[in-house]
Symmetry: C2
Subunit: 197 residues, 2 copies
């Protein structure tokens, strides 16, 4: 509608999961309906940007050198490392309570078609970390797609020769789901992952 409005809409549209319409709705909210929210969001954004950083060990959100998970000695005693694509995946696993070891966040996955190589992922400290922390079990909690597969292959090769057991999380029907409503990709994964009963 106006240049400054469109600039904000465009910037909001860059956020993950935000389309044209929702960016428009957000810009209207911030500029016309709740103008005090624009200042507040901007202040919070700059302050968070000052304080929040990536954990030097694992890539998780933190405000110190290392995050609370990496600083937790008990977490290290499992000698288990769970590799995830995004910090949000780490958060989801933490909320499930199903894992109590440490993590390594790649901030992406290998995708030659999108120009994402190993150098674009959080991998510079990975190998030395696996050695120094004496990791015995590497759990790959990466997406069930071609790029997740490629990333798993790459990581497995990286730790080959060491004494590390590598596994990838299971794929199939989500908890509570019925075969009827599952998409073909999920059904294929579930059939490929079948286990003797």
């Amino acid at each position: 509608m106006t240049p400054a409005f469109e600039a904000l809409q465009k910037e909001l549209k860059r956020l993950p999961g935000v389309g044209f319409r929702s960016a428009e709705r957000m810009a209207i909210h911030l500029l016309l309906e709740k103008p005090e929210a624009a200042k507040q969001l901007s202040d919070t954004l700059l302050s968070a940007r000052e304080r929040v950083r990536s954990c030097a060990s694992c890539g998780n959100v933190c405000e110190e050198e290392r995050c609370s998970i990496c600083e937790d000695v008990q977490r290290g005693e499992s000698f288990s490392l769970c590799v995830v694509e995004h910090v949000s995946d780490l958060m989801a696993i933490e909320k499930s309570g199903a894992y109590r070891g440490r993590y390594h966040v790649l901030h992406g996955k290998l995708s030659p078609i999108n120009g994402v190589g190993p150098e674009n992922l959080n991998l510079s400290g990975f190998e030395s970390r696996v050695k120094e922390e004496g990791v015995k079990e590497l759990i790959l909690a990466l997406p069930n797609d071609v790029e997740g597969e490629a990333t798993c292959h790459y990581l497995t090769e990286l730790v080959e020769g060491g004494d590390v057991e590598v596994s990838r999380i299971g794929f199939g029907l989500p908890s509570g789901a019925s075969v009827l409503y599952a998409d073909s990709g999920t059904l294929k994964s579930a059939l490929d992952a079948r286990q003797r009963y």
Copy 2:
């Protein structure tokens, strides 16, 4: 995860249509994955906040005293005024090309239960505007719900006695939709709005 991260997540969650998970995803994107985007979003937000304002006549987005629609003489020659809840509704109608008159944006709808009365809507200049611009047709393009209904009643009473024809937009089955997939509320609206064939 950290106080500054959670503060940003909370602020993002206040945006319309943003839930806990998407706010988390956005905060991770802004703080860890694309940290340059945080500064850029904050800058764009402050600059848009400086420049963008509500049109003094209609409440639309603008960077001058009055918006381009209100400044368009041809738009005034229809003597038609379309009342909408949000600027995004105005934008949607503009994109449809189905209307070429002027608008009045309420920035909300009457909702006693949420403490929204006429004084909380963009109504201070409404009556004088209707008179000064010689509005002959008032089209109420407000939501198909109880609050939309209450707002229509209120506006109709405001212009009563003048020479203004008031109408409310039609409700029913969306274009291209089938009865099978319509919800009960839509079917009720459609049946109530039936016309002789």
